[in-house]
């Protein structure tokens, strides 16, 4: 039996459920850890889509980098990380109504639009194709992004210094 549809549904459910907990969890630290499962679920979906290199990048950069940064941020900036998140009921209702409307609109668009469907043949591993692409077709954005990374790093270092050290 082909296990691919089962995996897809499992990863999809994991992603959606943990993302819902990120949005609605009453405790900030729980939301942060729930985000780990969202990122992992998305990485699994990448694998089912045949994007192996991207899945590994997702795990390395999002879980290994961004999520750790966010968790450090939570621990550094809240006196009680497990403290309740204060969110006014009125604001919560507004958010939920707007979200429901937006979701309806998006799903309508997704299922009504006539996408030109055709299954693309992917190579066995995508790393080679992506590497060649970054050195040829996408060389300009690749270089621009490397400068942007440097700028972001210097900017973050400057911003994070204490007032007196500037």
């Amino acid at each position: 039996m082909d296990s691919k549809p089962v995996l897809e549904v499992l990863f999809g459910l994991l992603t959606v459920a943990s993302a819902a907990w990120v949005a609605f969890s009453p405790k900030l630290l729980h939301a942060g850890f729930s985000l780990l499962f969202t990122f992992f679920g998305v990485a699994g979906l990448y694998v089912t889509l045949g994007a192996d290199f991207l899945a590994v990048t997702q795990v390395l950069v999002y879980i290994g980098g961004i999520l750790v940064l966010l968790l450090f941020g939570i621990l550094l900036t809240t006196s009680m990380p497990s403290a309740e998140l204060s969110s006014k009921p009125a604001r919560r209702a507004q958010g939920l109504i707007l979200g429901a409307l937006l979701l309806g609109l998006l799903l309508l668009a997704v299922f009504r639009a006539g996408w030109p469907l055709s299954l693309n043949e992917l190579p066995e591993t995508t790393a080679r194709g992506l590497g060649l692409g970054f050195m040829t077709t996408w060389i300009l954005p690749f270089e621009v992004v490397s400068i942007l990374l440097l700028a972001a790093m210097l900017g973050a270092l400057h911003l994070a210094r204490r007032e007196g050290e500037r």
Partner: protein, 101 residues
């Protein structure tokens, strides 16, 4: 599984990210919402590059650029959040009323 499955999951992720950004008042929680939205966009990129007639790796390359930009954004935003905490002893985004260098 078809394109619609992935697009639907992308749409749900996007909406949950937006809801997070609307309802939460904590700056780090807002960042989590942004990451959810970026992930949903990435999922759509990869799904489209798999199921439509685009060149197979274009969507994946776009997704990698998005991941790089997300990393930049998270680092700079976290530096701002730490500064905010130092100035105000809290990171409620509604309490921020000043923009000073």
């Amino acid at each position: 599984m078809s394109l619609h499955f992935y697009l639907a999951i992308g749409a749900i992720l996007f909406v949950l990210g937006i809801v997070t950004m609307i309802t939460r008042r904590n700056a780090v929680a807002l960042l989590m919402g942004v990451e959810l939205v970026l992930n949903s966009a990435n999922l759509n990129f990869v799904a489209f590059s798999r199921f439509t007639q685009a060149k197979a790796l274009d969507g994946q390359a776009a997704a990698i650029f998005v991941i790089i930009l997300a990393a930049c954004e998270a680092v700079v935003a976290m530096a701002i959040v730490l500064n905010l905490y130092r100035q105000q002893r809290g990171i409620d985004v509604d309490a921020v009323r000043e923009l000073q260098g």
